[in-house]
């Protein structure tokens, strides 16, 4: 019975991790950017959805949509205000751009986090779930919201797969992640591909953020842990590999759930961290990473 409960609970949290990490890894794969403001954007989406419902008195669906919209705007703002100026800067040597993007997005994330804390306080906020109630799965009472979260995550990841593999724009994105120079030689504007990718990222992070707000609730304190978990999932799966991130998300999600149930919720993150260190030693490029 416990095994079934772990299976059900772990699935929802893993699917949520997967959705959060997919956008993160997509940006890295295409433009080599590790966006450390990731957690801040997710929290901003959830807080916006919460504020839309409780301050602006919108209904649940418009609120969720508003949250995703805010995340989209934030993603573009991150790209145009922080990432693009650093990438185009002539005063920063090329080999140091990586650390500048890391520092810049980190500071940007802290700014977003502080603004959220200033206007909406540090208190945890829970977005009203779209579906309520519980269902009984073989004797396990499961909130419907868990199932809803898992379904939406799988659906969105499926749509992303269709977009990347079946549409012209998606194929251009895929090509850019394999060989940016080749794409430019074929006459595609790299900047436009970057804008598309940041747009996709914003929507993914927004959906993940709003769902997280419904599932666990968020506060401005969740910014750091969210970024760290996305970062470690993506590295575990192999930087830039979307399928690797999906596998890693489920490994981490289940490992955490099993630890929380079998040992103690206080030790929840420790086995995942140990696994990460272990993988880094024997396979530094991650599970499915290419070098």
């Amino acid at each position: 019975m416990l095994a079934l409960q772990i299976l059900i609970d772990g699935f929802a949290i893993s699917a949520l991790y997967a959705l959060g990490a997919t956008g993160f890894t997509l940006i890295f794969g295409v433009s080599g950017v590790l966006n450390l403001s990731h957690g801040a954007i997710m929290v901003a989406a959830a807080v916006a959805a919460w504020a839309a419902a409780s301050v602006l008195h919108l209904d649940i669906y418009s609120g969720a949509l508003f949250g995703v919209g805010v995340a989209l705007i934030m993603a573009f703002a991150t790209y145009f205000a922080v990432v693009k100026p650093i990438q185009n800067s002539r005063r920063i040597p090329n080999e140091e751009k990586e650390i500048f993007v890391l520092t810049g997005t980190l500071l940007w994330g802290i700014m977003i986090q502080e603004l959220i804390a200033y206007f909406f306080t540090n208190n945890a906020k829970t977005v009203l779930p779209i579906v309520e109630g519980v269902v009984d799965i073989f004797g396990n009472r499961t909130p419907r919201n868990n199932i809803f979260t898992a379904l939406v995550c799988c659906l969105v990841i499926g749509l992303l797969w269709l977009l990347v593999n079946r549409t012209r724009t998606g194929k251009a994105v895929l090509a850019a992640s394999m060989n940016p120079r080749g794409v430019t030689l074929l006459g595609l504007e790299l900047t436009q591909i970057y804008i598309v990718v940041w747009g996709i990222y914003g929507i993914l992070a927004g959906i993940a953020g709003v769902l997280l707000g419904m599932f666990l609730g968020v506060s401005s304190y969740s910014v750091g842990p969210l970024t760290a978990s996305a970062f470690s999932i993506v590295v575990l799966g192999g930087l830039g590999s979307v399928s690797g991130s999906l596998i890693a998300a489920f490994v981490v999600g289940y490992l955490e759930t099993i630890t929380a149930y079998m040992i103690s919720p206080a030790y929840r993150t420790i086995p995942a961290l140990l696994l990460l260190v272990f993988v880094m030693y024997i396979r530094p490029q991650g599970l499915l990473g290419r070098r």
Binding site: S89, L102, T103, L107, L115, Y118, A228, F231, L239, Y267
Partner: protein, 308 residues
């Protein structure tokens, strides 16, 4: 090295140190306390700059080294009541061991992968502190029975002296042939190796030196505070402040890192009336510096001097 003693930078630093040394004669204990913390932070930032600016290692976990030194010294004093100076020395040595542990992955993985390993190291240390709360005081913090002195002026002079000596050693090291080899191996390890330099040995040395100063400074800081807690010496946010200080002051300048740290701490205190917006303003200023003056304070000043 010889022409350094006649350079403008040397005189400016000398004047700054002399002026700073006379401060206890006419400013309040409050400002002295603030600067004492800022000076220890300056050493953290300089030690970080040696690793990042010269060895090219993106260390997201400066607090792994700082925290190990600080907690080792604190626990030894708390559990066994050993003398303060023995504890500080042992704390610094423990930090060197931690530097060794951190150097092992650095020799295998690079860039973001190494960055994540260091981040994980900090999270592990943080979990360790919380799980072994009997020994470490957990989330409440560790009480330390002894202090070096309770005189604000004396504490200030110790911090200033420590920072000046550390700055001299770290800056001297960075300008020496060893520093040049480090810089070369950070930028292009293959070519530096092809020129016959032992990269592994140099990088290991950089980790050990950086860890020694981080740990020493961390240990001195806990004996100044009289307590060690996750929020002051281990938390990722503390590490972020160290990194921001070094980038703000100018990476690859060593001395700039100390300037950045002093600026960050003093600015944070001056902005205290703005309440919760203080961190926002400091981050925004830091972001603007990163975007428009990537060389940092000292980098911008030095390049102007070189041009004129």
């Amino acid at each position: 090295m010889a022409n350094f003693f006649t350079s403008r930078l040397f005189f400016i630093s000398l004047v700054c140190v002399v002026v700073a040394a006379t401060l206890p004669l006419y400013v309040s204990g409050y400002i002295l306390g603030l600067l004492t913390v800022a000076f220890y932070f300056g050493v953290f930032a300089m030690a970080w700059d040696l690793l990042f600016g010269f060895a090219g290692e993106v260390n997201f976990g400066p607090t792994f080294l700082i925290g190990t030194g600080a907690y080792t010294a604190g626990i030894l004093n708390n559990q066994f009541g050993w003398s303060v100076y023995v504890c500080i020395l042992l704390g610094a040595l423990a930090s060197v061991v931690a530097g060794f542990v951190l150097a092992l992955p650095a020799l295998r993985v690079r860039g973001p992968y190494f960055g994540l390993t260091t981040l994980v190291a900090v999270l592990m240390l943080q979990n360790f502190v919380v799980v072994f709360a009997d020994l470490t005081g957990g989330e409440i913090g560790l009480t330390i029975p002894d202090v070096i002195t309770i005189n604000a002026g004396a504490n200030y002079w110790i911090a200033l002296g420590f920072m000046t000596i550390s700055a001299a050693i770290l800056y001297g090291l960075s300008q020496s042939p060893v520093g040049l080899v480090l810089q070369a191996s950070g930028q292009d390890p293959v070519q530096a190796g092809a020129l016959g330099f032992n990269i592994v040995k140099h990088k290991l040395a950089a980790f050990i030196v950086s860890a020694f100063f981080s740990g020493l400074s961390g240990a001195l800081l806990v004996f100044y505070f009289g307590t060690a807690s996750v929020g002051t010496v281990v938390d990722v946010a503390v590490g972020v402040n160290v990194i921001v200080s070094a980038v703000l002051g100018g990476r690859r300048t060593v001395l700039g890192a100390a300037l950045g740290a002093i600026f960050l701490i003093v600015a944070g205190e001056f902005l205290r009336p703005t309440g919760e917006l203080a961190t926002f303003i400091v981050s925004a200023v830091a972001l603007l510096v990163v975007l428009f003056f990537p060389g940092g304070f000292l980098g911008a000043a030095l390049s102007r001097e070189a041009r004129s």
